[in-house]
């Protein structure tokens, strides 16, 4: 009920009449739905017929839309508790976004602090450059990450990504950020061994900052608007770079229409990340791993991660990224009875006409080759990874080009030595 109320309020109808749920949810059995509706009938009829109150006819605004700029003064532990109790965090300690720290973060962009990069749903909070910087400081990001974060905000506010759905859905979708271009090396984005593991500021802090930005600027509160059933650790940070130098193919951002010398961020919202031993070292062994492990319970935008050695093996046999996409679409099939759409949800999820009449007929798991992207990344080893998202019609991988500030070279030089150097033992 809270998410329904919030959705109505954010669209300007705070007093729309909502009958509290007596039915568990989307997973309910028909008999439970029937029983729940039976119990709620009196309330539904009352909601349809009871005369409007004065406030229902003309609702009054509650709360203030413009918060104070300076919000707290205190010790580190106090401010962390203050932020945490307001829901302005992710459960981990944050760094203090002081005026000076935010000013230093703003060195990473030529845009004015008041410039609005976009409005983030569901609250339609204004993602000003300053608010992005405040959240970036909290997350432990560096000023060199600001151009990436601004591009990330442009991506997450692009309707083709559909944060409105994926940021609030019961499916616990988490943003998956792919970084391409020269900026990977300039800010040390890990594109190799353990790229998805903790330990690299760029991979960790950029994703974390975006998590805070989506929550604090977009206002997606857990269990109020963000109704993810299980939640998703990927929401802490899922940032990866493509290993362009060791790839035999053109990089993702070039496939997405940018120039190779550009730096870019690509975004989509998966909810699962699985790593699989390859079925064989040759091209067919690698491809078999992909097509036999797609998830028929997902079946949407999918990013398939291959290591540089696997990509080279495939390329030597003549495979391109586009050929692999087509192959995975064509041969990533299962008997229809194994696909979720076979069980009456195809219409409910906008895929009318995709289910063959016979349960033993072959059915594609992914709707089209364009729902697939191939990414060359990670370290050496015999694993592939599948990052699988939803197949809602119209949603796409979205790529945004970075705009670097005029002082970029100086800024990069300032932070270039900030890399972990492990003790030898």
């Amino acid at each position: 009920m809270t998410d329904g109320r919030s959705a109505a309020s954010n669209k300007g109808m705070p007093l729309v009449r909502i009958v509290a749920e007596t039915i568990p949810c989307e997973c309910s059995l028909k008999e439970d739905v029937d029983a729940g509706i039976h119990l709620a009938m009196g309330q539904i009829i009352e909601a349809l017929t009871k005369p409007l109150s004065a406030e229902e006819q003309s609702p009054k605004r509650k709360g203030k839309e413009k918060p104070s700029r300076i919000v707290f003064k205190g010790q580190l532990e106090e401010l962390n508790r203050f932020f945490y109790k307001r829901g302005w965090g992710d459960g981990l300690p944050v760094l203090p976004p002081t005026e000076a720290a935010v000013r230093e973060m703003l060195a990473g962009t030529d845009l004015e602090p008041a410039h609005v990069v976009g409005e983030i749903v569901p609250r339609h909070g204004k993602a000003t450059v300053e608010k992005i910087a405040v959240n970036a400081v909290m997350a432990g990001a560096l000023p060199t990450h600001m151009p990436i974060l601004i591009a990330c905000v442009e991506a997450v506010t692009d309707p083709l990504v559909d944060l409105g759905t994926f940021g609030t859905s019961t499916g616990s979708w988490a943003p998956f950020w792919i970084i391409n271009g020269p900026v990977r090396h300039e800010v040390h984005v890990n594109c190799g061994s353990g790229a998805m593991s903790p330990g690299d500021i760029a991979n960790a802090a950029i994703g974390r900052a975006m998590g805070l930005i989506i929550k604090n600027i977009g206002g997606g509160r857990k269990a109020v608007e963000d109704m993810g059933v299980f939640g998703n650790p990927g929401k802490y940070s899922s940032v990866i770079g493509e290993n362009e130098e060791d790839s035999p193919w053109e990089p993702l951002h070039v496939e997405q229409g940018l120039a190779k010398g550009d730096s870019a961020v690509t975004l989509f919202f998966p909810n699962s990340y699985s790593q699989l031993w390859q079925y064989g070292s040759d091209d067919m062994g690698i491809l078999s791993t992909l097509i036999y492990n797609l998830l028929p319970g997902r079946g949407g935008l999918s990013c398939l991660l291959l290591t540089p050695p696997q990509a080279k093996t495939l390329a030597k046999k003549g495979w391109t990224k586009q050929m692999i996409q087509k192959y995975v679409f064509e041969f990533g099939r299962i008997p229809a009875y194994r696909h979720r759409f076979f069980y009456g949800v195809a219409q409910a999820h906008g895929h009318v006409g995709t289910v063959p009449p016979n349960g033993m007929d072959p059915m594609a798991i992914v709707p089209s080759p364009d729902h697939i992207r191939i990414l060359v990344t990670g370290g050496p080893g015999a694993f592939v990874a599948l990052v699988c998202g939803a197949g809602l019609p119209g949603r796409q991988f979205v790529t945004k080009k970075l705009r670097l500030p005029s002082n970029w070279a100086k800024l990069v030089a300032k932070y270039k030595n900030l890399v972990p150097v492990y003790e030898k033992y």
Binding site: D3, G12, M13, P14, R17, I23, C25, E26, C27, S28, K30, V33, D34, M41, I44, L48, T49, P51, L52, E56, S58, R61, K66, P67, I70, V71, F72, K73, Q75, L76, L79, R86, W88, L95, P97, T98, E99, A101, V102, R103, E104, R123, H124, K126, T128, E130, V134, N135, V137, D162, T170, L212, N216, I217, G218, G219, G344, A348, H349, L392
Partner: protein, 110 residues
């Protein structure tokens, strides 16, 4: 990062900026007047893309027509998934449908 801390007798203190964003106020709208009762009324059933939406509205329709036989229903299936209908190509059809019914029930069914 430069955190610009002030050291007081209590220890290091930080004056910090808010991460919470401004919003432009959304124009508020009241809800539409209700009919006095549902006898002889046409009730719109708005179907979103949720599996339980169809089940919920079907159950409601069945109970409604049992309780109030003179009522009628009219179904509308949304065009896009999680897109306000007025922003879809179904806008004109939706507006015509809304104008043809006396009240609307939507089952969130999530």
């Amino acid at each position: 990062m430069n955190t610009s801390a002030q050291v007081s007798q209590r220890g290091t203190e930080y004056e910090v900026l808010s991460p919470w964003a401004d919003v432009d106020p959304v124009p508020l709208r009241g809800i539409t007047p209700r009919p006095e009762d549902l006898a002889g009324r046409k009730i719109g059933l708005f179907l979103n893309h949720k599996r339980a939406g169809y089940l919920s509205l079907s159950a409601f329709e069945r109970e409604l027509l049992e309780r109030i036989p003179s009522a009628t229903t009219s179904w509308y299936e949304c065009t896009g998934h999680n897109i306000p209908e007025m922003l879809t190509e179904g806008k004109a059809k939706f507006e015509a449908w809304v104008g043809s019914v006396d009240a609307v029930v939507l089952a969130v069914a999530d």
